[in-house]
């Protein structure tokens, strides 16, 4: 069985990310336009993405499908989720009450 580790150094092309998340390239471009994904590289042909983008695309698709919200709202939801997670982490690391 061929095993690959996707770590912080992993970079995925537009095509690879679309394939892994099963979305068309148009959708990926929209996700970038709304700031939900931040690619490295200047143009879609040269874009590449960190592996964390897999989770962000999947969460976006679930939110769109299951909560019927549009991309600007998804961008806002994900941003606030990041903030909540960061605050929770800070709380857990400083307090030590768990």
């Amino acid at each position: 069985m061929q095993v690959t580790i996707y770590d912080d150094d992993t970079r995925l092309s537009t095509r690879e990310l679309c394939h892994i998340c099963n979305i068309p390239a148009d959708m990926l471009i929209e996700l970038v336009e709304y700031g939900i994904l931040e690619p490295f590289g200047p143009t879609p042909a040269e874009w590449n993405f960190s592996q964390e983008c897999i989770g962000r695309v999947q969460a976006s698709m679930r939110l769109q499908h299951e909560l019927e919200i549009n991309l600007p709202a998804i961008a806002l939801v994900l941003e606030m989720r990041e903030q909540i997670r960061a605050l929770r982490k800070q709380l857990a690391l400083s307090g030590g009450h768990h």
Binding site: I5, I20, L93
Partner: protein, 313 residues
């Protein structure tokens, strides 16, 4: 099988309008959506709410469900009465969304199973779909690397076209130094291709189980280190646990509670290993004998210490 009170799950009256049902569903879907909810049982609740809405949003399914009567209670043992659904036509159809494989036996006994989506006929050499799953591992597995049996619940289509859940166990080597949020890609372990093409891949997203001693932040670890007041005041050298075994650590004189000290390179292994942060916590011994009380009184006299000086009292 358990009876499901779909009205109760959505928090609406049995005579609620379709509009009220939709509003209740939307509110609960936001509350329990696993991507945004902080509720511990969000995923389970989200599934229940979806199932309830799937049954009640369609007037035909709702009418059939209502026909079962009002006397059933949520969770009660249930067998569908014979011919209960005569006159209704929805079996196998009418699925409008949601993760049909996740619906309960109760739902399926009433409305049938979701048919598998067609559309593969004629497709040749189309690769199978990629699958994604989350795996919980122990922090120690990332230190030492470990072989772990990982069991996944996989929805599959049986020969009759029904969606069934099967469990599948894979032996996976957890590579040393893996961090939370990283993925392990197993080539060819996703869905098989229906047209003779290659199978899809399986992506496992790594998450750490909560640990009794350490908290994790990226590749750094945090450990609370309890100190006796004299250890903190006088300084000492003591043993500190790390995932790699105990190490000696020097506690300087007059260490305060909450001081953060770094053991470099004792975090999660990597090209540049993470650090282990030790947070001191001074623990006050109980004055539970006359001798100990006497000692505290003596300290009071000698120390002349006001911990509330900054409060101006």
């Amino acid at each position: 099988m358990e009876y499901k009170d779909y009205y109760k799950l959505l928090g609406v009256q049995r005579d609620a309008t379709q509009e009220e049902i939709k509003r209740a569903y939307r509110k609960l879907a936001r509350k329990y959506h696993p991507d945004v909810s902080s509720e511990a049982d969000a995923e389970e609740r989200f599934k229940e709410v979806n199932e309830a809405y799937e049954a009640l949003k369609d007037p035909e399914k709702r009418a059939a469900y209502d026909q079962l009567g009002k006397s059933w209670k949520q969770g009660e043992d249930f067998r569908p009465p014979p011919d209960w659904d005569a006159g209704f036509e929805f079996s196998g159809g009418g699925y409008t969304g949601g993760d049909a494989a996740a619906f309960s036996d109760f739902f399926e006994s009433l409305f049938g199973r979701a048919s598998a989506q067609g559309g593969y006929q004629g497709a040749r050499h189309v690769p199978g779909e990629d699958h994604h799953a989350r795996v919980l591992i122990d922090i120690e597995d990332s230190w030492h690397s470990a072989q772990r049996a990982i069991t996944l619940q996989v929805p599959q289509v049986d020969p009759a076209g029904h969606v069934v859940t099967q469990s599948r166990t894979l032996n996976v080597r957890i590579p040393k130094g893996i961090k939370e949020g990283q993925r392990i890609r197993l080539a060819g372990q996703g869905a098989p291709s229906l047209g003779g093409g290659p199978s899809g891949d399986l992506y496992l997203e790594v998450e750490f189980k909560p640990h009794s001693l350490y908290r994790v932040d990226g590749k750094d670890l945090y450990l609370d280190l309890p100190l006796a007041p004299w250890e903190a005041a006088l300084g000492t050298t003591l043993e500190v646990p790390t995932p790699d075994g105990k190490v000696d650590m020097k506690i300087p004189e007059n260490t305060r509670s909450g001081t953060k000290m770094r053991l470099k390179g004792r975090g999660i292994p990597a090209r540049e290993a993470g650090d282990l942060y030790v947070i001191t916590k001074i623990v006050v011994p109980q004055a539970d004998t006359e001798e100990k009380r006497e000692l505290y009184r003596k300290m009071e006299q000698i120390m002349r210490f006001n911990p509330r000086q900054a409060l101006g009292v």
